[in-house]
Symmetry: C2
Subunit: 171 residues, 2 copies
């Protein structure tokens, strides 16, 4: 998690070295590099699920829940550049019931509630809003990575953009 999470381009050799084992030992546990990356992503998303569980308990308005969701995921996006990396995109294509899906599904549910309650505009496809949210999150992360924005500024801009996209009133 430390090596791949921070340096998505790290070679299997480097991951093994950081773990104090050899390359072959890594392959003994994970059949391919991709499955190793998948495992790391799974662990990260497990953290996300846990954080969402503690944050989402007494769900107030959908808007407030959305902001908490953004807060949790943004923090992880900041800690693990791997999540921004293309190699991750190739993973959740086939394996649909991956951990990753859980986090996304929470957002989808949240959007459903918000639209039903009239907090969000209901004329935009929830599935699209999920994709759009992730895309904007990646874009915001990219701005930070490129040094064009600070983390806090990017988070603020992201919040405003998402709310606007959803047709929610800014609190």
């Amino acid at each position: 998690m430390r090596v791949l999470g921070a340096h998505p381009d790290a070679k299997v050799e480097q991951v093994a070295a950081a773990a104090g084992v050899t390359r072959q030992t890594v392959y003994a546990h994970y059949p391919s590099r991709q499955s190793l990356v998948a495992a790391v992503v799974d662990r990260i998303t497990a953290e996300a699920v846990a954080a969402l569980d503690t944050a989402d308990v007494d769900s107030g308005t959908a808007t407030a829940a959305l902001l908490r969701w953004l807060d949790v995921t943004w923090r992880l996006l900041d800690r693990f550049p791997l999540l921004l990396h293309p190699s991750v995109a190739a993973i959740d294509q086939g394996d649909s019931d991956r951990q990753h899906a859980v986090v996304v599904e929470r957002l989808a549910r949240l959007i459903g509630h918000g639209q039903a309650a009239g907090e969000f505009d209901g004329t935009l496809d929830p599935a699209w809003l999920v994709s759009a949210t992730i895309a904007l999150g990646h874009a915001a992360g990219g701005e930070v990575a490129a040094g064009r924005m600070t983390t806090v500024r990017a988070a603020a801009v992201l919040r405003r953009s998402i709310l606007r996209l959803y047709g929610a009133r800014e609190p």
Copy 2:
């Protein structure tokens, strides 16, 4: 353009074969695979610039111009999956004055006009709006590529999302 534009993962060998030459000949013209991709992207964006030139002449409102910009770029995104591919993202990092920048710069100018004229909300950073627009465009393209949306539906959803993000009235 045909091979790489449609199949971003194509090997240099395949590009060479399609051109009726050998791999070495390709390397005689382009020092690396990346520079070859960059050249393809340059040609595509040259088309984009030409299309924008013919479409942008008598610029009406900024909103109308924005929709034309979206129309032109969306068409190219649809024709050349390469533009959605990660390998392209690695290009325009270093070479800032690439053709690609011209298309982006047009959007930035357009946003400036719209904000100055009060058509768009002026409280969001134009540079961010540019990044966000591209991100949403890629997301919409991804939906089409994944078979979750038709091209026309994705284009419509993209338009609405962008307008909403910009704080523009939907025409």
